[in-house]
Amino acid sequence: MTRMTLGKALNAGLRRALEADPKVLLAGEDIGKLGGVFRITEGLQKDFGEHRVIDSPLAESGIVGTAVGMAMRGYRPVVEIQFDGFVYPAYDQIVTQLAKFHFRTRGRQRLPVVIRIPYAGGIGAIEHHSESPEAYFAHTPGLKVVTCATPHDAYWMIQQAIASDDPVVFLEPKRRYHDKGEVDESASPLPLHQAQVVRPGRDVTLLAYGPMVRTCLDAAAAAEEEGRDLEVVDLRTLSPLDTATVVASVQRTGRAVVVHEAQQNLGLGAELAARISEHCFYNLEAPVLRVAGYDMPYPPSRVEHQYLPDLDRVLDAVDRSMAY
């Protein structure tokens, strides 16, 4: 067990992946000497060399497109997109190429590429630096999409994503990079595509992922003082969704609130609500409610605290759910 930040846990996980498999490569803007703008790759170029930890030219489509080519030669590229809002120049390569090769080749061509993206808001950043693009990727067949909420998961999930033979979009909650927690380096980790009940409760299920897990845990702690017992599920995997864990929880509580930073319209909450209504119709005491970003572009940072789901908005939804 080692106590470390989520950012350091990612660094340690990447280091272990580089050590374990000589085919693992890292590429991205400023990831070498600088160690990335969030220092997630700090020290890795020094220890593994410029051929394995590669500073890329400033071109996201190029970064992902060349990763596809390298993967065709048996490499396992892990690319860093500097910020969520800068993944779009690479979107074409991700959705038309990376996501489809396995299908097009009837399974002969595997592309084990990991795309790491620091995502979501809450850090007072300027525009394009606080976005939650997960639904675009989760909507695309052929891609897997995961996100970590704790240092322990960060450490293990990045290694599992790299070991996966499918392309994985790996979303890192940037506002939690400095959160500390215990990492058990010798544990046998939960499977990558499994959700986890991180706080059991009886009254309402809160479904969250990435940066919102802690928000929901805080909300659950506050609700406890008012005598409410909230269950919190950390989804961890957004595509595929772990329907079984979600359904089991909602069948127990009869109530579900989905919480995500991404805009509400056609977000993960919509899919979760649909699955819950399909599987838990007779258990439901209330409609599935969503607490999400409003359906506008991410606003200026001085009002992001009003835009983002927070403890109060989560508890407000819990109240509404309980009122049914």
Partner: protein
Amino acid sequence: MSPTTADETDLVQLLTPEGERVQHPDYQFDGDDAEIAGYLRDMVLGRRLDTEATALQRQGELGLWASLLGQEAAQVGSARALGPNDVVFPSYREHAVALCMGVDPVDLLGLFRGVDLGDWDAEGTRFRNYTLVIGSQTLHATGYAMALERDGMVGNGSAEQDAAVVAYFGDGATSQGDVNESFVFASSYNAPVVFFCQNNQWAISEPMSRQSRIPLYRRASGFGFPGVRVDGNDVLAVRAVTERALDRARNGGGPTLVEAYTYRMGAHTTSDDPSKYRLADELETWRLRDPIERVKALLRTSGAADERFFADLAQEADDLAADLRRRCLQLQAPDLHAMFADVYAEQTDYLTAQQQTFREYVDSFETGADQQSTTEVSR
């Protein structure tokens, strides 16, 4: 040839770092001393604005600031070459261009303070919106130029009737697909656009050599239009080179790539720590090529400016900074409720309903339904 060192033979220079005027076979600067003194003023004010904004960031009044330090001549020389109808598509560091074009400097701070997303009069000033997504604006600039041409604003024979566009971007940006596509479109349609690349040697931590093995200006020839490299710290040369490129564009000659060879004297932004990736020596070398010092030296030797002039200018700069600071502190957060109306030109019922829900939610705190959380929401 190394792309990271200035090759004297292909660098247009009219004023040396020591402040001496030199001749160039193709370019000359015809302005008088008063004009040069005007450029000095622009550069000094630009630098002072920048210093103040950096200080404001340090004090928590701005979330971030992208400094122009060292790039004053590239920005002022190019901005002062603009004709009355020419339009600028900036990147995010062109604060001195904005100043020259009459943008109220406090309006530049909103984006960095997090109170708006770049809210100046982009049409009236002809200084369009800042673009943080590297390279995107070069395509907008090209499309805008194509539209100017369609509207008959090219080739009428005078800067009063004609118009051209300047797209600003960095050395790192030249790797982006969008920038290369803009070169293709501009060339294919012979669009009246000047691609003004401020090669400040760094894209955050990545040196020029990561982006290109040949000098950037030479890329243009592969796309079918001229490229020229100018000493980006020489305001006279930048002015002359940009003016020529703009004339060419307005006259229907098509695009030009200007590579202003300069240096980012500061950090990439206030979030960056350049000591992690570059040597202090390099900074020292470039300090000797300072764009402002050489103009001061020139004006001193020619007798066009005395100490009194410099003192007055310093005072004017301090006044600008004080005013900027005062008004920056008054910039308030926007009303999120009102912003629901900004998403679409034609509002949707769905969003109107969401806006209403938001209002009711916020009001539920204000009516005291939950005293403890009131501060949370209206913070």
